[in-house]
Protein backbone atom coordinates (compact mmCIF):
# COMPACT_ATOMS: atom_id res chain seq x y z
CA UNK A 1 0.00 0.00 0.00
CA UNK A 2 2.97 2.27 0.32
CA UNK A 3 4.32 1.48 -3.09
CA UNK A 4 3.69 5.04 -4.13
CA UNK A 5 6.51 6.01 -1.86
CA UNK A 6 9.23 4.24 -3.72
CA UNK A 7 7.86 5.42 -7.02
CA UNK A 8 7.41 9.06 -6.30
CA UNK A 9 8.93 9.69 -2.92
CA UNK A 10 11.64 11.79 -4.44
CA UNK A 11 9.22 13.77 -6.50
CA UNK A 12 6.90 14.30 -3.55
CA UNK A 13 9.71 15.44 -1.33
CA UNK A 14 11.01 17.85 -3.90
CA UNK A 15 7.61 19.18 -4.75
CA UNK A 16 6.65 19.50 -1.11
CA UNK A 17 9.71 21.53 -0.51
CA UNK A 18 8.59 23.78 -3.30
CA UNK A 19 4.89 23.80 -2.48
CA UNK A 20 5.43 24.50 1.19
CA UNK A 21 8.35 26.84 1.15
CA UNK A 22 7.70 30.17 2.71
CA UNK A 23 7.92 32.06 -0.52
CA UNK A 24 5.13 31.87 -3.01
CA UNK A 25 6.97 32.88 -6.12
CA UNK A 26 8.72 29.61 -6.84
CA UNK A 27 7.77 27.45 -9.75
CA UNK A 28 5.90 24.35 -8.72
CA UNK A 29 6.29 20.87 -10.11
CA UNK A 30 2.94 19.16 -10.65
CA UNK A 31 2.76 16.33 -8.17
CA UNK A 32 0.43 13.65 -7.01
CA UNK A 33 -0.10 12.19 -3.57
CA UNK A 34 -1.02 8.67 -2.48
CA UNK A 35 -4.41 8.86 -4.20
CA UNK A 36 -6.55 7.92 -1.22
CA UNK A 37 -9.70 9.71 -2.33
CA UNK A 38 -12.56 7.73 -3.79
CA UNK A 39 -14.60 8.80 -6.78
CA UNK A 40 -17.49 11.11 -5.93
CA UNK A 41 -20.76 9.92 -7.42
CA UNK A 42 -22.99 12.18 -9.49
CA UNK A 43 -25.67 11.84 -6.82
CA UNK A 44 -23.29 12.94 -4.10
CA UNK A 45 -22.14 15.93 -6.11
CA UNK A 46 -25.72 16.96 -6.82
CA UNK A 47 -26.61 16.71 -3.14
CA UNK A 48 -23.55 18.61 -1.92
CA UNK A 49 -23.22 21.32 -4.53
CA UNK A 50 -25.32 24.20 -3.19
CA UNK A 51 -23.26 27.13 -4.44
CA UNK A 52 -24.82 29.30 -7.12
CA UNK A 53 -22.64 31.63 -9.22
CA UNK A 54 -23.97 34.68 -11.09
CA UNK A 55 -24.62 32.56 -14.19
CA UNK A 56 -27.24 30.64 -12.24
CA UNK A 57 -25.55 27.34 -13.01
CA UNK A 58 -26.80 24.75 -10.56
CA UNK A 59 -30.02 26.51 -9.67
CA UNK A 60 -32.56 23.83 -8.75
CA UNK A 61 -36.01 23.20 -10.16
CA UNK A 62 -38.80 25.10 -8.48
CA UNK A 63 -40.18 28.61 -8.44
CA UNK A 64 -41.77 31.28 -6.28
CA UNK A 65 -43.36 34.71 -6.46
CA UNK A 66 -43.20 37.71 -4.12
CA UNK A 67 -46.75 37.01 -2.99
CA UNK A 68 -45.84 33.47 -2.03
CA UNK A 69 -42.63 34.74 -0.50
CA UNK A 70 -44.35 37.13 1.87
CA UNK A 71 -45.87 34.22 3.78
CA UNK A 72 -42.50 32.50 3.98
CA UNK A 73 -40.88 35.73 5.11
CA UNK A 74 -43.39 36.43 7.87
CA UNK A 75 -43.09 32.88 9.19
CA UNK A 76 -39.34 32.35 8.85
CA UNK A 77 -37.52 35.68 8.59
CA UNK A 78 -39.48 38.54 10.10
CA UNK A 79 -38.57 37.84 13.73
CA UNK A 80 -34.96 38.83 12.99
CA UNK A 81 -35.14 41.03 9.90
CA UNK A 82 -38.25 43.02 10.85
CA UNK A 83 -41.46 43.83 9.06
CA UNK A 84 -40.99 44.19 5.32
CA UNK A 85 -37.28 43.44 5.83
CA UNK A 86 -36.63 46.81 7.41
CA UNK A 87 -34.13 45.23 9.80
CA UNK A 88 -33.55 44.83 13.53
CA UNK A 89 -32.35 42.98 15.27
CA UNK A 90 -30.59 41.53 12.19
CA UNK A 91 -29.61 43.34 9.00
CA UNK A 92 -32.05 45.39 6.95
CA UNK A 93 -32.60 43.77 3.57
CA UNK A 94 -34.38 46.67 1.91
CA UNK A 95 -33.63 50.26 1.03
CA UNK A 96 -30.70 52.51 0.28
CA UNK A 97 -30.76 52.12 -3.50
CA UNK A 98 -28.83 55.07 -4.90
CA UNK A 99 -27.34 55.97 -1.54
CA UNK A 100 -23.92 54.42 -2.03
CA UNK A 101 -21.19 57.01 -2.00
CA UNK A 102 -23.39 59.60 -0.29
CA UNK A 103 -23.37 60.73 3.32
CA UNK A 104 -26.62 58.80 3.82
CA UNK A 105 -25.22 55.51 2.56
CA UNK A 106 -27.31 52.46 3.42
CA UNK A 107 -25.97 49.05 2.43
CA UNK A 108 -28.64 46.39 1.92
CA UNK A 109 -29.40 43.50 -0.39
CA UNK A 110 -31.18 45.98 -2.64
CA UNK A 111 -28.63 48.75 -2.65
CA UNK A 112 -25.36 46.83 -2.44
CA UNK A 113 -25.53 43.16 -3.44
CA UNK A 114 -24.36 42.75 -7.05
CA UNK A 115 -26.13 39.49 -7.90
CA UNK A 116 -29.58 38.08 -7.13
CA UNK A 117 -28.11 34.57 -7.29
CA UNK A 118 -26.15 35.37 -4.11
CA UNK A 119 -29.41 36.06 -2.29
CA UNK A 120 -30.76 32.66 -3.28
CA UNK A 121 -27.46 30.94 -2.46
CA UNK A 122 -27.08 32.52 0.97
CA UNK A 123 -30.71 32.11 1.99
CA UNK A 124 -30.69 28.46 1.04
CA UNK A 125 -27.43 27.61 2.80
CA UNK A 126 -27.66 29.70 5.96
CA UNK A 127 -31.20 30.90 6.67
CA UNK A 128 -33.02 30.89 8.99
CA UNK A 129 -30.10 30.74 11.39
CA UNK A 130 -32.17 28.71 13.84
CA UNK A 131 -32.73 26.01 11.23
CA UNK A 132 -30.47 26.41 8.19
CA UNK A 133 -31.11 24.39 5.02
CA UNK A 134 -34.69 23.70 6.12
CA UNK A 135 -36.48 25.71 3.44
CA UNK A 136 -37.68 24.03 0.25
CA UNK A 137 -36.34 25.29 -3.05
CA UNK A 138 -39.77 26.76 -3.80
CA UNK A 139 -39.66 28.63 -0.50
CA UNK A 140 -36.18 29.97 -1.21
CA UNK A 141 -37.24 31.15 -4.67
CA UNK A 142 -40.34 32.76 -3.18
CA UNK A 143 -38.65 34.59 -0.33
CA UNK A 144 -35.88 35.70 -2.69
CA UNK A 145 -38.58 37.09 -4.98
CA UNK A 146 -40.21 38.87 -2.03
CA UNK A 147 -36.97 40.62 -1.01
CA UNK A 148 -36.31 41.66 -4.61
CA UNK A 149 -39.89 42.95 -4.87
CA UNK A 150 -39.64 44.94 -1.62
CA UNK A 151 -36.58 46.62 -3.11
CA UNK A 152 -38.51 47.54 -6.26
CA UNK A 153 -36.26 45.38 -8.40
CA UNK A 154 -38.92 42.99 -9.72
CA UNK A 155 -42.71 43.37 -10.00
CA UNK A 156 -45.09 41.75 -7.55
CA UNK A 157 -46.14 39.03 -9.97
CA UNK A 158 -42.66 38.09 -11.19
CA UNK A 159 -41.84 34.41 -10.82
CA UNK A 160 -38.31 33.56 -9.83
CA UNK A 161 -36.92 30.28 -11.10
CA UNK A 162 -33.69 28.88 -12.55
CA UNK A 163 -34.19 30.85 -15.76
CA UNK A 164 -35.45 34.20 -14.45
CA UNK A 165 -33.33 34.70 -11.32
CA UNK A 166 -29.94 35.03 -13.07
CA UNK A 167 -31.49 37.60 -15.42
CA UNK A 168 -32.36 39.97 -12.60
CA UNK A 169 -30.06 42.95 -12.82
CA UNK A 170 -29.22 44.30 -9.38
CA UNK A 171 -28.83 48.09 -9.04
CA UNK A 172 -25.23 47.80 -7.83
CA UNK A 173 -24.21 45.21 -10.41
CA UNK A 174 -21.23 47.30 -11.53
CA UNK A 175 -20.36 48.68 -8.12
CA UNK A 176 -17.31 46.53 -7.39
CA UNK A 177 -13.64 46.87 -8.24
CA UNK A 178 -11.98 43.45 -8.58
CA UNK A 179 -8.65 43.41 -6.78
CA UNK A 180 -8.04 39.66 -7.08
CA UNK A 181 -5.53 39.98 -9.88
CA UNK A 182 -7.11 36.98 -11.61
CA UNK A 183 -7.59 37.75 -15.32
CA UNK A 184 -11.25 37.91 -16.30
Amino acid sequence: MYSYKSAIAGAVAAALAAACATTSEETRTPITGPALGRAATAQEIAAWDISIPPSGAGLPAGSGTPTQGEAVYVAQCQACHGEKAAGKPADALVGGIGSLGTAAQIMTVGSFWPYATTLFDYTRRAMPTTKPQSLTNDQVYAVTAYILFLNGIIPENAEMNAQTLPQVRMPNRDGFIDRSGVPR
Binding site: A19, I31, G33, R38, E44, C80, P89, T118, P132, F176
Partner: protein
Protein backbone atom coordinates in the same frame (compact mmCIF):
# COMPACT_ATOMS: atom_id res chain seq x y z
CA UNK B 1 4.30 62.35 10.66
CA UNK B 2 3.30 65.43 12.58
CA UNK B 3 2.72 65.69 16.25
CA UNK B 4 -0.97 66.41 16.09
CA UNK B 5 -2.30 64.05 18.68
CA UNK B 6 -5.91 63.43 19.41
CA UNK B 7 -5.63 62.76 23.08
CA UNK B 8 -8.38 61.71 25.39
CA UNK B 9 -6.71 61.98 28.71
CA UNK B 10 -9.80 60.89 30.55
CA UNK B 11 -11.22 57.63 29.25
CA UNK B 12 -14.62 58.36 27.81
CA UNK B 13 -17.51 56.19 26.91
CA UNK B 14 -17.52 55.05 23.33
CA UNK B 15 -20.11 56.50 21.03
CA UNK B 16 -23.12 54.24 20.67
CA UNK B 17 -22.19 53.29 17.16
CA UNK B 18 -24.04 49.99 17.34
CA UNK B 19 -22.85 47.02 15.42
CA UNK B 20 -20.65 47.09 12.40
CA UNK B 21 -21.73 45.64 9.12
CA UNK B 22 -20.24 42.23 9.74
CA UNK B 23 -22.10 41.70 12.94
CA UNK B 24 -19.29 42.56 15.28
CA UNK B 25 -20.12 45.23 17.81
CA UNK B 26 -18.32 48.41 16.93
CA UNK B 27 -18.52 49.72 20.43
CA UNK B 28 -16.70 48.04 23.19
CA UNK B 29 -18.07 46.58 26.35
CA UNK B 30 -15.80 48.35 28.78
CA UNK B 31 -16.56 46.09 31.69
CA UNK B 32 -15.87 42.99 29.69
CA UNK B 33 -12.74 44.08 27.93
CA UNK B 34 -11.19 46.34 30.49
CA UNK B 35 -11.86 44.47 33.66
CA UNK B 36 -10.87 41.13 32.24
CA UNK B 37 -8.17 42.26 29.88
CA UNK B 38 -6.34 44.45 32.35
CA UNK B 39 -6.48 42.20 35.35
CA UNK B 40 -3.64 40.35 36.93
CA UNK B 41 -2.18 39.19 33.68
CA UNK B 42 -2.48 42.57 32.06
CA UNK B 43 -0.67 44.12 34.97
CA UNK B 44 2.05 41.54 34.90
CA UNK B 45 2.48 41.78 31.17
CA UNK B 46 2.70 45.54 31.37
CA UNK B 47 5.77 45.32 33.56
CA UNK B 48 4.27 46.53 36.79
CA UNK B 49 6.11 45.79 39.98
CA UNK B 50 4.21 43.52 42.34
CA UNK B 51 2.36 45.61 44.91
CA UNK B 52 3.12 43.33 47.80
CA UNK B 53 6.48 41.63 47.76
CA UNK B 54 6.99 38.57 49.90
CA UNK B 55 6.98 39.78 53.47
CA UNK B 56 9.82 37.57 54.62
CA UNK B 57 12.26 36.43 51.99
CA UNK B 58 13.98 34.10 54.42
CA UNK B 59 10.93 31.89 55.02
CA UNK B 60 10.56 28.61 53.14
CA UNK B 61 7.54 29.14 50.83
CA UNK B 62 4.55 26.94 51.59
CA UNK B 63 4.70 25.20 48.19
CA UNK B 64 8.06 23.80 49.20
CA UNK B 65 6.62 22.35 52.38
CA UNK B 66 3.73 20.34 50.95
CA UNK B 67 3.50 17.74 48.22
CA UNK B 68 2.55 19.11 44.84
CA UNK B 69 -0.42 18.01 42.78
CA UNK B 70 -0.05 14.83 40.72
CA UNK B 71 0.08 14.41 36.96
CA UNK B 72 -2.94 15.02 34.76
CA UNK B 73 -4.03 14.08 31.29
CA UNK B 74 -4.26 17.55 29.83
CA UNK B 75 -2.67 20.58 31.37
CA UNK B 76 -4.18 23.98 32.03
CA UNK B 77 -2.57 27.34 32.76
CA UNK B 78 -1.80 28.30 36.33
CA UNK B 79 -4.85 29.35 38.30
CA UNK B 80 -3.12 32.69 38.76
CA UNK B 81 -3.49 33.26 35.02
CA UNK B 82 -7.20 32.54 34.96
CA UNK B 83 -8.01 36.05 33.78
CA UNK B 84 -6.05 35.62 30.57
CA UNK B 85 -9.04 34.88 28.40
CA UNK B 86 -10.55 35.55 25.04
CA UNK B 87 -13.36 38.06 25.26
CA UNK B 88 -16.38 37.40 23.10
CA UNK B 89 -18.78 39.80 21.47
CA UNK B 90 -21.70 39.19 19.18
CA UNK B 91 -23.71 41.71 17.27
CA UNK B 92 -26.48 39.18 16.88
CA UNK B 93 -26.48 37.78 20.41
CA UNK B 94 -30.24 37.76 20.71
CA UNK B 95 -30.94 35.86 17.51
CA UNK B 96 -27.77 33.98 16.61
CA UNK B 97 -25.50 33.74 19.66
CA UNK B 98 -22.83 31.87 17.70
CA UNK B 99 -22.43 34.66 15.16
CA UNK B 100 -19.67 36.90 16.42
CA UNK B 101 -16.08 36.89 17.52
CA UNK B 102 -13.78 36.52 20.48
CA UNK B 103 -10.45 38.25 20.68
CA UNK B 104 -6.94 37.17 21.67
CA UNK B 105 -5.50 38.89 24.80
CA UNK B 106 -2.47 40.26 22.95
CA UNK B 107 -1.31 42.42 25.86
CA UNK B 108 -0.99 39.37 28.10
CA UNK B 109 1.02 37.24 25.66
CA UNK B 110 4.67 37.18 24.59
CA UNK B 111 6.62 35.60 21.79
CA UNK B 112 4.77 34.89 18.55
CA UNK B 113 2.73 31.71 19.02
CA UNK B 114 -0.84 32.11 20.24
CA UNK B 115 -1.94 29.33 22.59
CA UNK B 116 -4.58 27.33 20.74
CA UNK B 117 -7.22 28.05 23.36
CA UNK B 118 -6.63 31.78 22.98
CA UNK B 119 -6.69 31.89 19.17
CA UNK B 120 -9.33 34.40 18.15
CA UNK B 121 -12.68 33.11 16.94
CA UNK B 122 -15.01 34.40 14.28
CA UNK B 123 -18.02 32.26 13.54
CA UNK B 124 -21.09 32.91 11.43
CA UNK B 125 -23.41 30.51 13.20
CA UNK B 126 -21.49 28.91 16.03
CA UNK B 127 -19.05 26.03 16.31
CA UNK B 128 -20.28 22.75 14.85
CA UNK B 129 -19.64 19.50 16.68
CA UNK B 130 -18.23 17.32 13.92
CA UNK B 131 -17.54 13.60 14.23
CA UNK B 132 -14.32 13.13 12.26
CA UNK B 133 -15.33 9.57 11.38
CA UNK B 134 -18.34 10.94 9.50
CA UNK B 135 -16.80 14.08 8.05
CA UNK B 136 -16.00 14.08 4.32
CA UNK B 137 -14.18 16.48 2.03
CA UNK B 138 -15.27 16.61 -1.60
CA UNK B 139 -13.25 18.09 -4.44
CA UNK B 140 -15.26 18.52 -7.61
CA UNK B 141 -16.22 20.99 -10.31
CA UNK B 142 -13.79 21.51 -13.18
CA UNK B 143 -11.72 18.42 -12.40
CA UNK B 144 -11.15 15.20 -14.28
CA UNK B 145 -11.85 13.01 -11.24
CA UNK B 146 -14.22 14.31 -8.53
CA UNK B 147 -12.99 12.87 -5.24
CA UNK B 148 -14.21 12.29 -1.70
CA UNK B 149 -11.74 12.10 1.19
CA UNK B 150 -12.22 10.87 4.71
CA UNK B 151 -10.30 12.54 7.51
CA UNK B 152 -8.50 9.25 8.06
CA UNK B 153 -7.31 9.28 4.47
CA UNK B 154 -6.09 12.87 4.75
CA UNK B 155 -4.00 11.87 7.75
CA UNK B 156 -2.08 9.46 5.53
CA UNK B 157 -0.93 12.14 3.09
CA UNK B 158 2.51 13.72 3.20
CA UNK B 159 2.26 16.68 5.54
CA UNK B 160 4.05 19.92 6.08
CA UNK B 161 4.15 22.47 8.89
CA UNK B 162 4.38 26.21 8.78
CA UNK B 163 3.93 29.03 11.23
CA UNK B 164 1.60 31.76 10.05
CA UNK B 165 -0.85 34.28 11.35
CA UNK B 166 -4.57 34.40 10.70
CA UNK B 167 -6.19 37.83 10.91
CA UNK B 168 -9.84 38.74 10.52
CA UNK B 169 -10.38 41.46 7.94
CA UNK B 170 -12.48 43.28 10.55
CA UNK B 171 -9.60 43.48 13.01
CA UNK B 172 -8.91 46.86 14.61
CA UNK B 173 -12.51 47.87 13.97
CA UNK B 174 -12.76 49.99 17.15
CA UNK B 175 -10.01 52.24 15.79
CA UNK B 176 -11.73 52.28 12.41
CA UNK B 177 -15.24 53.30 13.31
CA UNK B 178 -14.81 55.51 16.37
CA UNK B 179 -13.97 59.16 15.67
CA UNK B 180 -12.24 59.42 19.05
CA UNK B 181 -9.71 56.86 20.20
CA UNK B 182 -11.51 54.12 22.10
CA UNK B 183 -9.99 53.53 25.51
CA UNK B 184 -9.56 49.81 25.22
CA UNK B 185 -6.91 47.12 25.34
CA UNK B 186 -4.82 45.81 22.47
CA UNK B 187 -7.06 42.74 22.76
CA UNK B 188 -10.26 44.71 22.31
CA UNK B 189 -8.92 46.68 19.37
CA UNK B 190 -6.51 44.32 17.60
CA UNK B 191 -7.26 40.89 19.08
CA UNK B 192 -8.59 39.38 15.86
CA UNK B 193 -5.10 38.23 14.92
CA UNK B 194 -3.40 35.08 16.17
CA UNK B 195 -0.47 32.94 15.09
CA UNK B 196 0.00 29.18 15.17
CA UNK B 197 2.09 26.40 13.79
CA UNK B 198 -0.23 24.65 11.35
CA UNK B 199 0.33 21.15 10.02
CA UNK B 200 -1.52 19.47 7.22
CA UNK B 201 -1.67 18.45 3.59
CA UNK B 202 -0.74 20.80 0.75
CA UNK B 203 -3.97 21.46 -1.15
CA UNK B 204 -2.00 21.24 -4.40
CA UNK B 205 -1.53 17.51 -3.81
CA UNK B 206 -5.27 16.86 -3.79
CA UNK B 207 -6.03 19.25 -6.62
CA UNK B 208 -3.45 17.50 -8.76
CA UNK B 209 -4.93 14.13 -7.93
CA UNK B 210 -8.36 15.38 -8.97
CA UNK B 211 -6.85 16.84 -12.12
CA UNK B 212 -7.78 20.48 -12.67
CA UNK B 213 -9.35 21.11 -16.08
CA UNK B 214 -8.03 23.75 -18.43
CA UNK B 215 -9.88 27.03 -18.06
CA UNK B 216 -10.43 26.74 -14.32
CA UNK B 217 -9.19 29.75 -12.39
CA UNK B 218 -11.01 29.87 -9.04
CA UNK B 219 -12.10 27.58 -6.20
CA UNK B 220 -15.14 27.71 -3.97
CA UNK B 221 -14.34 26.57 -0.43
CA UNK B 222 -17.24 25.70 1.85
CA UNK B 223 -17.50 24.80 5.53
CA UNK B 224 -19.65 22.28 7.35
CA UNK B 225 -20.97 24.79 9.86
CA UNK B 226 -24.54 26.00 10.22
CA UNK B 227 -23.76 28.90 7.90
CA UNK B 228 -22.15 26.63 5.28
CA UNK B 229 -19.67 29.50 5.05
CA UNK B 230 -18.26 29.80 1.56
CA UNK B 231 -15.54 31.85 -0.10
CA UNK B 232 -14.00 31.97 -3.56
CA UNK B 233 -10.23 31.57 -3.77
CA UNK B 234 -8.03 32.03 -6.85
CA UNK B 235 -6.87 28.63 -8.09
CA UNK B 236 -3.31 29.94 -8.14
CA UNK B 237 -3.36 30.28 -4.33
CA UNK B 238 -4.75 26.78 -4.03
CA UNK B 239 -1.84 25.45 -6.07
CA UNK B 240 0.68 27.64 -4.25
CA UNK B 241 0.86 27.57 -0.45
CA UNK B 242 -2.71 26.60 0.54
CA UNK B 243 -2.90 23.87 3.16
CA UNK B 244 -5.59 21.58 4.49
CA UNK B 245 -4.67 22.03 8.14
CA UNK B 246 -5.32 19.15 10.51
CA UNK B 247 -3.10 20.19 13.40
CA UNK B 248 -2.57 23.43 15.27
CA UNK B 249 0.41 23.88 17.58
CA UNK B 250 1.05 20.17 17.52
CA UNK B 251 -2.39 18.90 18.43
CA UNK B 252 -5.49 18.39 16.35
CA UNK B 253 -7.34 21.56 15.46
CA UNK B 254 -9.55 23.01 18.15
CA UNK B 255 -13.26 22.90 17.27
CA UNK B 256 -13.25 26.71 17.13
CA UNK B 257 -10.50 26.57 14.52
CA UNK B 258 -12.20 24.16 12.16
CA UNK B 259 -11.88 20.64 13.56
CA UNK B 260 -11.30 18.29 11.87
CA UNK B 261 -9.92 20.18 8.85
CA UNK B 262 -9.66 23.80 7.77
CA UNK B 263 -8.36 25.63 4.75
CA UNK B 264 -5.24 27.66 5.50
CA UNK B 265 -4.32 30.43 3.08
CA UNK B 266 -1.16 31.98 4.53
CA UNK B 267 -1.37 35.75 4.79
CA UNK B 268 -4.88 36.09 3.42
CA UNK B 269 -7.87 37.49 5.26
CA UNK B 270 -9.18 35.21 7.97
CA UNK B 271 -12.62 34.67 6.50
CA UNK B 272 -11.15 32.87 3.50
CA UNK B 273 -9.42 30.30 5.71
CA UNK B 274 -12.62 28.26 5.70
CA UNK B 275 -13.06 26.16 8.82
CA UNK B 276 -14.72 22.75 9.02
CA UNK B 277 -13.90 22.40 5.32
CA UNK B 278 -16.24 20.02 3.50
CA UNK B 279 -16.16 21.03 -0.14
CA UNK B 280 -13.85 22.53 -2.73
CA UNK B 281 -15.39 23.23 -6.10
CA UNK B 282 -13.03 24.14 -8.92
CA UNK B 283 -14.71 26.85 -10.98
CA UNK B 284 -14.32 29.30 -13.80
CA UNK B 285 -14.68 32.73 -12.18
CA UNK B 286 -15.60 33.48 -8.59
CA UNK B 287 -18.94 32.43 -7.10
CA UNK B 288 -19.62 35.86 -5.52
CA UNK B 289 -20.80 34.53 -2.17
CA UNK B 290 -22.38 36.74 0.47
CA UNK B 291 -19.08 37.01 2.34
CA UNK B 292 -17.14 38.26 -0.68
CA UNK B 293 -19.67 40.80 -1.92
CA UNK B 294 -21.78 42.38 0.81
CA UNK B 295 -19.14 41.63 3.46
CA UNK B 296 -15.35 41.95 3.47
CA UNK B 297 -15.50 44.53 0.68
CA UNK B 298 -14.41 48.12 1.21
CA UNK B 299 -16.24 51.19 -0.05
CA UNK B 300 -13.96 53.82 -1.55
CA UNK B 301 -14.78 57.44 -2.35
CA UNK B 302 -17.07 57.62 -5.35
CA UNK B 303 -19.47 54.87 -4.33
CA UNK B 304 -17.72 51.73 -5.52
CA UNK B 305 -16.37 48.93 -3.37
CA UNK B 306 -13.04 47.13 -3.48
CA UNK B 307 -13.70 43.40 -3.78
CA UNK B 308 -11.29 40.50 -3.22
CA UNK B 309 -8.72 42.22 -1.02
CA UNK B 310 -6.91 39.08 0.01
CA UNK B 311 -3.43 39.65 1.47
CA UNK B 312 -3.57 41.42 4.82
CA UNK B 313 -1.67 44.69 4.94
CA UNK B 314 1.64 45.24 6.72
CA UNK B 315 0.87 45.98 10.35
CA UNK B 316 2.24 46.16 13.88
CA UNK B 317 1.09 46.98 17.37
CA UNK B 318 2.93 47.56 20.63
CA UNK B 319 1.50 45.11 23.13
CA UNK B 320 3.45 46.38 26.10
CA UNK B 321 3.25 48.89 27.38
CA UNK B 322 -0.32 49.30 26.20
CA UNK B 323 -3.73 50.35 27.46
CA UNK B 324 -4.70 48.65 30.71
CA UNK B 325 -1.16 48.48 31.98
CA UNK B 326 0.60 51.08 34.12
CA UNK B 327 4.31 51.75 34.24
CA UNK B 328 5.63 51.42 37.80
CA UNK B 329 8.00 54.32 37.49
CA UNK B 330 10.80 55.91 35.50
CA UNK B 331 13.66 53.73 34.35
CA UNK B 332 14.01 50.73 32.09
CA UNK B 333 11.00 49.41 30.25
CA UNK B 334 11.01 47.18 27.22
CA UNK B 335 8.76 48.16 24.36
CA UNK B 336 7.49 44.88 22.92
CA UNK B 337 5.09 44.23 20.10
CA UNK B 338 4.09 42.14 17.12
CA UNK B 339 4.38 42.84 13.41
CA UNK B 340 3.09 40.93 10.41
CA UNK B 341 2.32 41.18 6.71
CA UNK B 342 0.24 39.13 4.34
CA UNK B 343 2.80 39.85 1.62
CA UNK B 344 5.76 38.10 3.25
CA UNK B 345 8.38 38.75 5.88
CA UNK B 346 8.71 41.78 8.10
CA UNK B 347 11.79 43.72 7.05
CA UNK B 348 11.85 46.43 9.72
CA UNK B 349 9.86 47.93 12.56
CA UNK B 350 10.45 51.49 13.67
CA UNK B 351 9.30 52.71 17.07
CA UNK B 352 8.67 56.28 18.11
CA UNK B 353 8.80 57.36 21.72
CA UNK B 354 7.89 60.98 21.02
CA UNK B 355 4.66 60.91 19.08
CA UNK B 356 6.24 60.46 15.67
CA UNK B 357 8.90 63.18 15.77
CA UNK B 358 11.70 60.64 15.71
CA UNK B 359 11.83 56.89 15.06
CA UNK B 360 14.22 54.19 16.19
CA UNK B 361 14.66 50.82 14.56
CA UNK B 362 13.46 48.04 16.85
CA UNK B 363 15.18 44.67 17.18
CA UNK B 364 13.37 41.94 15.29
CA UNK B 365 13.38 38.65 17.16
CA UNK B 366 14.01 35.62 15.00
CA UNK B 367 12.93 33.55 13.34
CA UNK B 368 11.46 36.09 10.96
CA UNK B 369 9.01 34.03 8.95
CA UNK B 370 6.89 34.89 5.96
CA UNK B 371 3.26 35.67 6.82
CA UNK B 372 3.91 35.06 10.50
CA UNK B 373 3.88 37.24 13.58
CA UNK B 374 7.32 38.70 14.25
CA UNK B 375 8.19 39.98 17.71
CA UNK B 376 9.99 43.30 17.94
CA UNK B 377 11.60 44.88 20.96
CA UNK B 378 13.15 48.20 21.90
CA UNK B 379 14.71 49.08 25.25
CA UNK B 380 13.33 52.30 26.68
CA UNK B 381 14.67 54.38 29.53
CA UNK B 382 11.52 56.23 30.47
CA UNK B 383 12.19 59.62 32.02
CA UNK B 384 8.80 59.73 33.71
CA UNK B 385 7.33 62.34 31.41
CA UNK B 386 4.38 62.18 29.05
CA UNK B 387 5.25 60.15 25.98
CA UNK B 388 3.44 58.85 22.93
CA UNK B 389 4.76 55.54 21.64
CA UNK B 390 3.91 53.81 18.38
CA UNK B 391 5.31 51.26 15.94
CA UNK B 392 5.52 51.31 12.14
CA UNK B 393 6.25 48.11 10.23
CA UNK B 394 7.83 47.66 6.79
CA UNK B 395 7.58 44.36 4.94
CA UNK B 396 9.87 42.66 2.44
CA UNK B 397 8.01 44.25 -0.46
CA UNK B 398 8.78 47.67 0.96
CA UNK B 399 5.20 48.39 1.97
CA UNK B 400 5.02 50.73 4.95
CA UNK B 401 2.32 50.64 7.60
CA UNK B 402 0.25 53.82 7.14
CA UNK B 403 -1.02 56.29 9.67
CA UNK B 404 -4.67 56.03 10.59
CA UNK B 405 -5.43 59.29 8.79
CA UNK B 406 -3.67 58.19 5.62
CA UNK B 407 -5.41 54.83 5.60
CA UNK B 408 -8.84 56.29 6.29
CA UNK B 409 -8.36 58.83 3.51
CA UNK B 410 -8.37 56.01 0.97
CA UNK B 411 -11.70 54.66 2.20
CA UNK B 412 -15.26 55.91 2.03
CA UNK B 413 -16.69 56.48 5.49
CA UNK B 414 -17.62 54.60 7.49
CA UNK B 415 -14.69 52.32 6.64
CA UNK B 416 -15.16 48.66 7.48
CA UNK B 417 -12.32 46.22 6.88
CA UNK B 418 -8.57 45.87 6.38
CA UNK B 419 -7.45 48.59 8.80
CA UNK B 420 -3.70 48.10 9.17
CA UNK B 421 -2.82 51.55 10.40
CA UNK B 422 -0.46 52.64 13.16
CA UNK B 423 -1.52 52.22 16.80
CA UNK B 424 -0.24 54.81 19.28
CA UNK B 425 -0.34 54.73 23.06
CA UNK B 426 0.12 57.77 25.28
CA UNK B 427 1.98 57.17 28.53
CA UNK B 428 1.09 59.74 31.20
CA UNK B 429 3.44 60.94 33.92
CA UNK B 430 1.68 58.64 36.38
CA UNK B 431 2.43 55.65 34.14
CA UNK B 432 -1.11 55.12 32.96
CA UNK B 433 -1.64 54.47 29.25
CA UNK B 434 -4.25 55.73 26.82
CA UNK B 435 -5.10 55.03 23.20
CA UNK B 436 -4.40 58.04 21.00
CA UNK B 437 -4.64 58.75 17.28
CA UNK B 438 -1.52 60.29 15.72
Amino acid sequence: MGRKIQSPRAPQALPPSGQSSDGLPAKIDRRGFLARGAGIAGAAAAGIAPQAAAQDATAVPPWMQTMGTPMRGYGNPSKFEEKVLRVAASGYAKVTPGAGASRTPLQALEGTITPSGLHFERHHNGVPTIDPAQHRLMIHGLVKKPLVFTVESLERYPMTSRICFVECAGNSGPNTVNPKPPQATAQAIHGLVSCSEWTGVPLALLLNEAGVEAGADWLLAEGADAAAMGRSVPLAKGLDDAMLALYQNGERLRPEQGYPVRLLLPGWEGNMNVKWLRRIKVTRGPTHTKDETSKYSDMVPGGKALQFTFAMGVKSVITRPSFGGKLAGPGFHEVSGIAWSGAGRIRRVDVTLDGGATWKEAVLQGPILSRSLTRFRLPWDWNGGQAVIASRAVDEKGSVQPTRAAWLAEMAQPARYHNHSIQAWEVAADGSIANVFI
